[in-house]
Symmetry: C2
């Protein structure tokens, strides 16, 4: 095979679950560095989570983060609203301008958390039926929110499925006709708790939510791949100083390491390229009702060998749990809306080039 024969064109990928940390924690990421990392990872459209400081829970905080995004974003984007105990009406009124509604129902990073099912119900009742809802809900909480969504007759997307119990629950719910979709992260697909020592991940560096599960849980995700609608990085950058500190925040960066991991799995025959495109493009577009990005594509060399190294990344956090991972398959070029925005390991898009795909009018 000559070199050219291994280069393929792919659509610009979509990451429906990233944390860009602005406003509030731009020392670890902002709309500039985070969207540069997205393009360097092959993602031309990212959906940003609302657990910023302040969290995005209403008109003022939404405008605060979108103002930063307008100035700084290098790839296209939309911003989630966060469900709180008092804001069901307000966020519903803002739904048209947001990626969707995020409901935090289990432990996570930041203050957003809905403990009472009465608050879940208020959001299910108020949020427009045709707009996405994403839940962070683990184990039996996942079963609980699937019930509530079904009772309110609305589709529900389940973030970062991590365990055998969860993926089998979603399989069963889908088989019975419930309108649930889900995503899995690269770290839950490629790592497990048994790997932590060998990867040098201990203390705060091992902390992520949902936690890395067992090898059996990881293999259950692969065994139920057809149940997984999307791959999502859950890109959650924190600095190593924070990860090594007394109260380490949970989260791994992921935007720049996801595609090489997926392509390596393609090279190994564990995934097909079609599997990747379904979960990084086709299904996210459908589930989150995302517009086409015209004249947008990637060029990927499926055969090129590489090695994951935080030294080469655009994310501000400066580390990766996949350090030293040998990969096959490399992103060569990204074109976004007719402009070359990444080439030769260099992001070329300027801050502000990215568009809010939910912008109205």
């Amino acid at each position: 095979m000559n070199a050219d024969a291994s280069v393929v064109k792919m659509p610009g990928l979509i990451d429906p679950h990233v944390h860009l940390r602005e406003p509030g924690a731009t020392h670890k990421e902002d709309w500039d560095s985070g969207t540069a990392a997205a393009l360097a990872g092959g993602f031309t459209l990212v959906l940003a989570m609302p657990n910023t400081q302040p969290p995005v829970t209403g008109a003022a905080s939404l405008e605060m983060t979108l103002a930063a995004a307008r100035r700084k974003a290098r790839c296209d984007y939309a911003q989630y609203l966060g469900a709180g105990p008092e804001n069901a009406g307000e966020v519903a009124s803002l739904a048209g301008g947001a990626a969707g509604l995020k409901m935090y129902l289990d432990q996570t990073y930041g203050p957003l958390r809905l403990d009472q099912m009465a608050d879940w119900r208020a959001h299910f009742a108020a949020w427009p039926k045709d707009r996405p809802i994403v839940a962070h809900a683990e184990g039996r909480t996942m079963a609980a929110v699937i019930l509530l969504a079904a009772l309110y007759e609305r589709p529900l997307h389940l973030a970062h499925v991590a365990t055998r119990e969860e993926i089998l629950l979603i399989r069963l719910a889908k088989e019975k006709g419930l309108r649930v979709t889900c995503e899995a992260t690269p770290h839950h697909l490629f790592l497990c708790e048994e790997d932590l020592p060998a990867r040098g991940l201990s203390g705060g560096r091992a902390e992520v939510r949902p936690r890395l599960a067992t090898a059996a849980d990881r293999e259950a995700l692969w065994a139920n791949l057809e149940v997984i609608d999307c791959f999502a990085s859950d890109h959650a950058p924190h600095t190593l100083a924070e990860k090594d500190g007394a109260q380490p925040p949970p989260g791994f960066p992921g935007l720049e390491t996801a595609l090489p991991l997926y392509l390596s799995a393609v090279a190994e025959g564990r995934l097909s390229l079609e599997d990747v495109l379904m979960r990084c493009y086709t299904n996210p577009r459908r589930i989150f009702n995302l517009p086409e990005q015209p004249e947008t594509w990637l060029e990927v060399d499926l055969q090129a060998a590489g090695e994951i190294s935080a030294g080469k990344t655009y994310t501000r956090c400066g580390w990766t749990p996949f350090e030293g991972w040998q990969t096959r398959g490399r992103l060569q070029r990204v074109v976004l809306r007719g402009r070359e925005v990444y080439h030769d390991e260099t992001v070329l898009a300027a801050p502000g080039y990215g568009k809010n795909i939910r912008e109205q009018g």
Copy 2:
């Protein structure tokens, strides 16, 4: 109104949720004292929970408790099987001879507890479709088990609903056509956490599962009375020495105080006699598929005033959280299968008179 005009006949009542403590803890109750308490409370048929010592989780332990029941029970009865992580097949094979299957999914007294949803699923898959399943599941766990039961297309009875969140969830599930039923206890209907100091209930004496909730939770049960299919005492006797000890077990006795409390609510106009009969006879018979008890009735004086006192009770535990409660409505006589078994505050049935209503052949 003369005295006779206030005396009414009622069917023998059914309590679908009692703990009789045998085998393993007969110092606080056994099949003799517990079924005497049932008759003294107007209950001619009780369904006994499996969290004994050993728990009733298979053929040997079922036979152990039924052997004691055959010798000692004064009223009719059936015995639940307990769902454990390893016994889905065995208990399913015993279903015909049991009251039903009890799944403990949240904190309770004793060792029976199913933490993994995979274990819930094994029981939903194995247990015969036409046999009752009862779940102890609070809050979001209740929502989770309602989903699993719905996915396995089987009816589910929810024990001791205690909060506004729970009763509203069950209301919604019923409105959407799910086959769920539920029960409420006298202590959750007539007490709340704010009452504890005034009733002299502190420390271990206040401990019960589910915990007494707020006054708002209690009022939500009354406001949604039509959603409550059954009243159940959750009679859970422990001695005062245990309740006042270092590790107080949760639970209140209830068999002998339930009916006076319900009749007092009738006298006050908060319940109708029909409300009581629906929840203590008609609905339990239907939900648990219980046979008619021929020539079985109560005589109740609706006007007679009384006062709840542990000094008058048959339960071996020797106390009640309702001590000193002023009541209106008194049980005068109980006839069970043609024999007078209670009269003039005296239980007349001998040990062994009670029948296992699930006995085959």
